[in-house]
Amino acid sequence: MEKVGIVGYYQVKLYSDANYGRYEMIFEAVRGAIDMAGLKKKDISTVISCTNDYYDGRTISNCFTVEVGGGYMTDESKVEMDGAHAVLYGLMRILSGNHKLALVWGGSMASCFPYHSTRLFETDPTWERPLAYVNDITSAGFQMRSYMEKYGVSAEEIASVAVKNRKNAARNPLALAEAQNVNINVKEVLASDIYADPVTELMVAQPCDGVAAILLAPERLALKITDKPVWITGVGFSQEPYYLGDRNLYESKSMELAGKTAFESAGIKDPKREIDVAELFESYAHEELILAEALGLAEKGKGANINSEINGDISINPSGGATSGNPPCATGLIRVIEAARQLRGEANGYQVNNAKKAVASGQIGMCAQNNILFVLEGGN
């Protein structure tokens, strides 16, 4: 694959109820990424936004974000999935040879709408929606139980993932304040409110307000813009059947396939040894284990046995992952940014030593139905 580099990025501080509007937030992120790269608005040749009409409360919601999102009189298109999918779209536009500089941004304000109710609109309208038994929370309950029963994993082991991520989030200044907790322990996680047994409140990556933006450029231009480009060397993308009853919820076949494609293109043979940092989009604590196992970072069912702390066997979610704040449509994009931050040595407070290769993932759908994985490398 031809090299495409990340030459700028910006993420706003995440809030559960931001005290400023979404347009200011979008502008801050977009302008921040452009300023970081030392560029001007006119340098951007294509804009990919990622929002969701349901989350924005209006149809074709990107028509309202033209000015603030850098889309004024520019080639602009929207992805209605995760921000990480928008990165793929931006990447493809650069690889097409028709565009020089792609601006990708994504985000929303979960404080404006009942997020979990909205997820009900994802379900089959003729069969599942009238009963309203299936939504993101109940399906997470099924997924966690399936994983625990299949591999004999305890709730304590899964709670310890939430503990690690909330402690990591405390070192990440942009994380959601509610997610930052240095003193948290497994007992506290298990004793928090039950969402859908066995999933408890503190295992959930809480929807919040936030926007992130990234700038992509082809190799030659990237080297002109920055002396610290981060290269996208591999990408893979796959999805599973829709109905939960058709899937083995204890594993992620789609992430397995996404990983296979991405690693092949990046020339990675042994991800466990070669990858230094993994920023995974885990909507719930147990998903981090399922996704890590699907990528071969741990054996099936043994995700909880590896040391995934910062500078452990493999550093998984040093930023705190999605648990550190889950602004719909931005979360996967933030994973890509966090991985880039690590590779540039800019993760002050949660930097992984000697980080050379990283993976970042995005997801969408019930029980991470759809997964996308990027392999990123630092240096030029």
């Binding site: 109940t138 099924f142 029963e149 047994d197 058709d246």
Partner: protein, 153 residues
């Protein structure tokens, strides 16, 4: 939301209900439900049995003809998975007094699982792998709620 914010709670100026047609396959399925009968259909290639029936087998990428491969299914199945939630699933801010017990049930003779309530059971009595049976609504209407839930056999 913080108190000092001016909020426009937008309920919408228009009401635009979306009328989904269930399609010919689910139509036949719901007609049977109304008679307290469960039917599915079978992929002619891989042999997977779907309940509710499907027009397309995604795995084989072929159409299952409407006039063929219908399978009569029993009202029994196996509990493959379960969860218990104190929240109304369509709005987690609205706490219900009673836990909602939900199961993923694989109907005997089918290859997928459906999500329904588990009835007359205490949380500690629920075990993955246990045999369950449909509890039908007293007056079936030909919609998904005709299956009230599942009880332990």
């Amino acid at each position: 939301m913080s108190e000092d914010k001016v909020i426009v709670a937008n309920k919408g100026m228009v009401r635009a209900d979306f009328n989904f047609w269930v399609g010919r396959y689910l139509d036949k399925f719901l007609d049977n439900l109304e008679n307290k009968k469960l039917v599915g259909n079978k992929c002619p290639k891989c042999g997977d049995v779907f309940v509710p029936p499907r027009k397309i087998c995604g795995k084989c990428n072929i159409t299952i003809p409407i006039d063929q491969n219908w399978v009569d299914l029993p009202d029994t199945g196996i509990l493959k998975n379960y969860t218990i939630t104190p929240y109304r699933v369509n709005d987690r801010t609205d706490r219900k007094a009673k836990d909602l017990l939900l199961g993923m049930i694989q109907i005997d003779g089918s290859n997928t699982a459906i999500v329904y309530k588990l009835l007359n059971l205490k949380p500690e009595e629920i075990k993955t792998g246990m045999k369950v049976k449909i509890e039908w609504a007293e007056k079936p209407k030909g919609d998904p709620s005709d299956i009230k839930g599942f009880v332990k056999i």
